[in-house]
């Protein structure tokens, strides 16, 4: 059954930022691309996301950030996963200026998706991140 290979993605809004238009669109894009999407919703913490990733046996974690908090929050997410001994790749999307992309990758974020990424690019980025992590 193909379900055995179905990629499981946990999507979450980390912190106070309430902009959820993008993450809801991404959730539908990934679902249409055949993935299983677990959307945790708003106001999640690194702890709540780690717990969900463990419980749901997630293959990837997607964070959407629109409030300039990415340089603080995304590395904190990577650290929290490492502390829990999970190697789940973290994918960051949203409003991330170009000059922040490399520092985020250096801090262990798997992929950064900017505004304007097509549906195909988003789905492929998740597949690649999952493949590279295994």
């Amino acid at each position: 059954m193909s379900d055995e290979q179905q990629i499981r993605v946990v999507l979450a809004k980390l912190g106070l930022d309430g902009h959820d238009r993008g993450i809801k669109v991404v959730a539908r894009i990934l679902r249409d691309a055949g993935m299983e999407v677990i959307y945790l919703g708003l106001r999640q913490t690194t702890d709540s996301i780690v717990a969900a990733a463990e419980q749901e046996d997630a293959d990837a974690i997607g964070l959407s950030m629109h409030n300039a908090g990415h340089m603080t929050l995304a590395p904190a997410m990577v650290k929290a996963l490492a502390k829990a001994e999970l190697n789940t790749p973290v994918i960051v999307g949203g409003i991330v200026p170009d000059q922040d992309v490399q520092p985020l990758l250096d801090d262990g974020v798997a992929v950064v998706l900017g505004p304007g990424a097509s549906a195909e690019e988003v789905a492929q980025a998740v597949r690649d991140a999952v493949a590279n992590a295994n």
Partner: protein, 552 residues
């Protein structure tokens, strides 16, 4: 009928005569109302009802921009209260009379700067306010009786309003002299912006308390700015923005009248805030329909008799969501077109977005270009000479009717699920996921159209050559966070802990008794230098918190 006959007919109508009388009695700007080639133009053309006449489709005032141009209100706020205070004084020195305040994310969510939730967010998207001491800094050496202050905050709006009142009292200014607007539109938080603290019903009770409080104590203050802007940014269509916003307005009217406030005592102080997006005629139809619907519902359904209660006066902001990160300079053209739609739609004030805002808060240069853009619309295009210049166009009138028809269908649905109450319908629509579901569906449909190429977004899926990457963007330094935490620690050391504990207990008691207005107890707590989060939590212990169901 020839064109000349038609013109003679409307000029001879009693409506025109009534309008003309008001126009002639009004004071107009000292400027020639003629084209750049010297052709004199009339203040309005075509058949009535005319601007300032019910149902106000053509404008809320008889003279519209001939008396006063729209207010060019640019929204700003950053860093510490002292930083923003310096910016405010700069605005006032340059002849401005309106201050507009943006708060940072922790403040908007009722969190202090030392909360673990605030990490990385302090002072980034606006000014950080933890206690009355910050509010004193924010308005230091500013005569609050001589300015109008707009404060964009919702969940903890009652606490911020109380701080504003406390600052005025300390400076010997009576609450009756305070003018301004607090956004305080909690419904759209559950529907779109998601900056709520408590569940809907207790939140609306606080809004109602604020309407009552301002009606009695602050007659020049607008207690709610009913905002469609965020609904549209979250992905709604133009008609959904129109309908959800006006339905929220009806819901506040029902809530306040149910609490015993006469409709004409507060409805004239309600104002609106709409988005201006890129589909030019749809936006103009939306603005015109908004005025007509509000007037009709206020008069016919809610029994308003004061004309002011029927006027849909609104602020407009260009569509942030339409700005592209690719080839950012072309956003200047988008903003110009959207600003023009706002002016042709008869807005009372306008904020134009900066071209670099798809990436970060605007740089100074980008913000200046945005202001210059609306100054060009106001002073070079001639559109301010004639009220509702598109009125009478078959297409524009049809679009206005179509926006109204779609909105009425949504009102009928809300009335139905609310068993004859729009207020209950809005609660039901929040609880059953109607609003967020409709908005998410519209957002996804738009994305699909862009993705499959059926909808062209210049620079994104077509005409992509020439993107030179990102230029300078504004960075907020992390020192603000450290400064603000220290400031808060100092205030906590200096205050009287017994007073804080006593006043917070009183806030909780007031929250628990729905027959009591919460504002006086919040005012006492604020004066004791209780923090924003402490006061918010004192109410949360009674009201509980709201957690949205995560629906895709």
């Amino acid at each position: 009928m020839s064109d000349t006959d038609a013109e003679e007919a409307w000029r001879a109508s009693p409506e025109y005569a009534a309008w003309r009388e008001k126009y002639d009695a009004a004071k107009v700007r000292d400027t020639p109302f003629e084209t750049m080639s010297g052709v004199p133009v009339e203040p309005v053309y075509g058949p009535g009802p005319y601007p300032g006449q019910y149902p106000y489709t053509r404008g809320v005032y008889p003279t519209m921009y001939r008396s006063r141009l729209w207010t060019m209100r640019m929204f700003a706020g950053f860093g510490t209260a002292e930083d923003t205070n310096a910016r405010f004084k700069d605005i006032l020195r340059n002849g401005g009379t309106g201050l507009s305040t943006a708060f940072d994310m922790p403040t908007l969510m009722g969190r202090d700067s030392d909360s673990s939730w605030a990490l990385g967010e302090v002072g980034r998207a606006g000014v950080a306010i933890d206690t009355l001491a910050d509010m004193e800094d924010l308005f230091a050496d500013i005569d609050l009786s001589g300015v109008s202050t707009s404060m964009t905050i919702n969940g903890p709006a009652a606490i911020i309003l109380a701080m504003y009142v406390a600052v005025a009292e300390k400076n010997g200014i009576g609450t009756d002299q305070l003018a301004g607007t607090i956004q305080n539109d909690i419904f759209k938080e559950y529907q779109a912006q998601k900056e709520y603290i408590y569940p809907p019903r207790p939140s609306v009770r606080v809004v109602t308390d604020m309407i009552q409080y301002t009606s009695a104590e602050m007659p020049r203050f607008h207690p709610v700015s009913i905002s469609g802007y965020h609904i549209r940014e979250a992905g709604s269509t133009a008609a959904q923005e129109l309908a959800f916003t006006l339905a929220n307005g009806f819901a506040y009217v029902e809530a306040a009248t149910a609490a015993g406030v006469d409709v004409d005592e507060f409805a004239g102080r309600l104002s609106f805030f709409f988005n201006s997006h890129s589909d030019f005629f749809e936006e103009i139809g939306k603005f015109r329909a908004a005025r007509r619907i509000w007037a009709r519902w206020m008069k016919e359904r809610y029994g308003a008799t004061n004309e002011r209660s029927m006027l849909c006066r609104f602020h407009t902001q260009t569509a942030g969501v339409s700005l592209t990160a690719q080839q950012p300079e072309i956003n200047i053209a988008r903003v110009a077109i959207q600003a023009l739609a706002g002016a042709l739609g008869g807005t009372q004030s306008l904020h134009t977005d900066s071209f670099d805002e798809a990436l970060a808060l605007p740089t100074e240069k980008a913000a200046r270009i945005a202001l210059r853009t609306q100054q060009i619309v106001a002073h070079e295009t001639g559109v301010a000479n004639v009220a509702d210049p598109l009125g009478g166009s078959d297409y524009v009138e049809w679009m206005t009717d179509e926006m109204e028809r779609q909105a009425e269908a949504i009102f009928a649905h809300l009335d139905d699920i609310g068993d004859g109450s729009i207020l209950e319908g809005v609660y039901a629509g929040i609880e059953n996921g109607y609003f967020v579901g409709e908005i998410a569906d519209s957002a996804y449909r738009f994305e699909r159209e862009v993705n499959n190429g059926n909808r062209i977004v210049v620079g994104v899926n077509e005409f992509t050559d020439g993107d030179e990457g990102q230029g300078d963007i504004l960075r907020i330094e992390a020192e603000v966070e450290e400064y603000q935490r220290k400031r808060l620690a100092d205030v906590k050391l200096a205050r009287n802990d017994d007073d804080v504990a006593r006043t917070l207990t009183a806030v909780t008691a007031a929250a628990a008794d729905s027959t009591v207005n919460v504002m006086p107890s919040i005012l006492d707590a604020v004066k004791a230098y209780a923090t924003l989060e402490e006061i918010a939590m004192a109410m949360e212990s009674v009201f509980g918190t709201y957690v949205e169901k995560a629906i895709i």
